[in-house]
């Protein structure tokens, strides 16, 4: 009975949404809006080749600050939801009971790991030139650490270092924004106050490149922290403290 009601409800939603979207033909350029301004200003004023990057980091940079905050929030909330009790005497984390991976996997991981980090770093350093940026690069770096985490039981993330990277990268973003209040032409938060440079140069786009590097570090540290928290929770059984 409940299923029937829900399917009926879904049908109603689908009908109205489809009728709404039917008037938005696929592939048609219906609007003259802010996008033309972005497509014009990004290469000419900001000297940023990738328009998506310039929107994400500059025109709508405040959104990105919020986005970074969401990831930070997720990792904090995760820590608060799944708090761990680590034994302090042994350096090993006793909660990780996954079996050791085979030698093949371990060697492979060791070989691939530096390349993954390099790829991630490349992607966020070139965020304003090529597709990708801080989020993608950071996620790729986290994947590299994940590879090491699952192949070596004794590979542990240094939490102190993660905390420092998170804090410094996050505050770099906000402080660069606040510097804009002082040094930039219009005294705006997150406004570019560095020379824009030349289109398609590595050192172009002013603070956009720096912000994306900070975002890359922050996202990498954040996601690595999330994965580490999830991987090291106790695997089975009831928790005595819960009841």
């Amino acid at each position: 009975m409940k299923k029937v009601i829900i399917i009926g409800f879904l049908g109603v939603i689908a009908y109205y949404l489809l009728s709404a979207f039917a008037s938005v033909p696929f592939g048609a350029d219906l609007i003259k809006g802010v996008k033309d301004f972005y497509l014009d200003k990004s290469p000419n004023d900001l000297k940023v080749a990738n328009v998506v990057t310039s929107i994400v980091v500059n025109f709508r940079g405040f959104d990105t600050l919020g986005e970074v905050t969401v990831l930070f929030l997720a990792s904090t909330a995760l820590g608060s939801i799944l708090y761990r009790r680590r034994s302090h005497d042994s350096g090993l984390n006793p909660q990780r009971t996954a079996p050791e991976a085979s030698a093949l996997v371990q060697t492979g991981a060791k070989v691939i790991f530096p390349f993954t980090i390099m790829l991630g770093a490349y992607i966020f350093i070139h965020g304003h030139l090529t597709p990708g940026g801080g989020f993608q690069g950071g996620a790729i770096i986290a994947t590299g650490f994940l590879l090491m985490l699952v192949s070596y039981r004794k590979f542990f993330i240094e939490h102190n270092a993660l905390t420092w990277i998170e804090a410094i990268a996050g505050s770099t973003f906000v402080i660069l924004g606040l510097l804009g209040l002082v040094y930039a032409n219009n005294h705006n938060f997150l406004e570019n106050f560095l020379p824009a440079g030349k289109l398609n140069d590595l050192l172009s786009g002013g603070i956009i490149g720096i912000i994306y590097v900070a975002v890359g570090f922050k996202v990498g540290a954040e996601i690595t922290g999330i994965l580490d928290t999830l991987l090291t929770v106790k695997e089975t059984g009831l928790d005595p403290e819960e009841n």
């Binding site: 709508r60 940079g61 405040f62 930070f72 909330a77 606040l178 804009g180 938060f189 819960e242």
Partner: protein
């Protein structure tokens, strides 16, 4: 202008939240002190900015050096400034109440303060932003920090409550995103003022679909009727100060977003009738559920839903009197519900079940907390010497102005229902014998301070309502005058 820029309301809490783990490494008590300093500072600049606001000239801040509609802008106007001032004031009081963190330990308090800072920053962002997608981002920040805060205590059913909240919240964000997407494809911009200008040319059917999507999505945080299943669980499982900040910040930013979207951004025929119906359903559902509750926190939560329903009804009149009453009710709800939740935190501290009948005779053993709870109950019901009275009175006047006599009957009926269930608690507190020995948990000095300030505000506004009516009138005018909002954000563009 540099020191009192509205961007600090968001940038400073975010910066502090990012740096809080480092402060903890330097000197542990900094974890508790630094957030308080930040809250005090933003409350101070918020009061400063709000009191010095020139009528009709809101502070419009552009971000990243691009004028709206290309960049994101923040609008600190009479209405948004009022809500922000309320939020920062409550944030500071919540910090005063929960400053002492030794009980939960260092590590947990670090997470608690981080999540609280981000909840405050997110709510302020929702209120200040002038960009519809940016509003979505801040709504997500408030939502995720609320999930974390709801699941903060380990021993209770908090994870269930948080999961329920998360499920409903994710569905709501889907609806908001769909609405934003449809709107963007119609008008090609995300700036609220420019949408307001261009929305006039949207096909009415499309506009009503967008409006309904917004109503579903934003109604969840505003505790609207079919989507408020999370409220009683989240309010009763979260720590006491967190429940107070949900009532004071989360619900306030939700209703602000709803009102801003329907009054300024999208003008749709019949949407206010729908809001009226939803509001009435919310009131009926909530007040009659509240009567049947046996647990104090759940009762307060349902009562909070009822209040939010009343606020929705007030805003649905689409008249100046209605908005004025709605703003007064918002103010009352934020202040009084916070006091009730803070007091209930100590009242139910020593009882495991948090049942109302465990509170017999607490008036003698916990005189101050019981007094505060009683004061809050009298105020929220709407008895004369307190601020709640003026809110309800204005509400009745506004309803009569709109010739909705059955709504007057409903409001009076609801007042009777509220009297019944609040006085049931007060009766147990003062006129019953204590039936078993309980360990008394005396409120700490900082909790006493926080509750006293709230009580003073309630009585002060109750005796002398002109303290805030001036500001409420200004906020009403600002919200009602859509053209001047658009003109202030986009000087080169005007309606028609």
């Amino acid at each position: 202008m540099v020191i009192s820029d509205p961007v600090y309301f968001i940038a400073l809490p975010l910066l502090t939240a990012f740096l809080l783990p480092l402060f903890g490494k330097i000197y542990k008590p900094l974890i508790g002190i630094i957030p308080g300093l930040v809250f005090a500072f933003i409350a101070y600049i918020s009061f400063d900015l709000y009191l010095n606001l020139v009528p009709g000239k809101p502070i419009v801040i552009q971000l990243a050096g691009w004028a709206p509609p290309w960049g994101i802008n923040l609008v600190f106007s009479e209405f948004s400034g009022f809500v922000v001032t309320l939020i920062t004031f409550l944030a500071f009081l919540v910090w005063v109440y929960s400053y002492n963190f030794k009980k939960v330990g260092f590590d947990n308090s670090k997470k608690y303060f981080t999540l609280l800072m981000l909840l405050v920053a997110g709510s302020i962002g929702v209120v200040l932003t002038g960009d519809i997608f940016n509003m979505f981002v801040f709504l997500e920040i408030t939502a995720i920090s609320s999930y974390g805060l709801t699941a903060f205590y380990k021993g209770r059913d908090s994870a269930e409550a948080a999961f329920k909240f998360l499920l409903i919240g994710s569905l709501s964000s889907t609806f908001i995103l769909l609405a934003i997407l449809l709107l963007y494809k119609q008008v090609g911009t995300l700036n609220m003022a420019e949408i307001a200008v261009k929305a006039q040319s949207i096909d009415p059917k499309m506009k009503s679909i967008i409006a309904i999507l917004f109503m579903i999505g934003l109604g969840i945080e505003a505790e609207m009727f079919p989507m408020n299943g999370w409220v009683p669980d989240a309010y009763s499982q979260a720590p006491g100060p967190v429940a107070a900040s949900f009532a004071g910040m989360l619900a306030k930013s939700g209703i602000y977003a709803l009102v801003r979207v329907f009054y300024t951004v999208l003008e749709v025929d019949g949407i206010f009738d729908l809001l009226l119906i939803m509001g009435i359903l919310t009131i009926i559902f909530a007040e009659f559920s509240a009567m049947r509750q046996t647990r104090l926190r759940r009762m307060l939560a349902y009562s909070s839903i009822g209040q939010m329903g009343l606020i929705m009804v007030a805003f649905s009149f689409n008249t100046k009197a209605g908005i004025f009453a709605g703003l007064f009710l918002m103010f009352n709800h934020a202040i009084i519900k916070s006091l009730l939740f803070l007091a209930s935190g100590f009242l139910t501290y020593s009882t495991k079940q948090k049942k109302i009948r465990d509170l017999d005779g607490f008036g003698k053993i916990m005189p101050f907390t019981s007094l505060m709870f009683g004061l809050g109950a009298f105020a929220i019901v709407g008895l004369p010497p307190f601020s709640g009275f003026w809110g309800k009175l204005n509400m009745l006047v506004a309803t009569a102005d709109s010739n909705l006599y059955f709504v007057i009957a409903l409001i009076l009926l609801v007042a009777v229902v509220e009297v019944v269930y609040y006085f049931k608690v007060i009766g147990r507190l003062y006129f019953r014998q204590q039936h078993k020995e309980v360990e008394v948990h005396k409120p700490t000095w900082n909790a006493i301070a926080a509750m006293s300030v709230l009580a003073i505000v309630i009585i002060g506004v109750g005796i002398y309502p002109d303290l805030i009516t001036d500001y409420l009138t200004k906020a009403t005018n600002e919200l009602f005058d859509k053209a001047s909002y658009i003109h202030n954000v986009l000087p080169n563009l005007s309606l028609n």
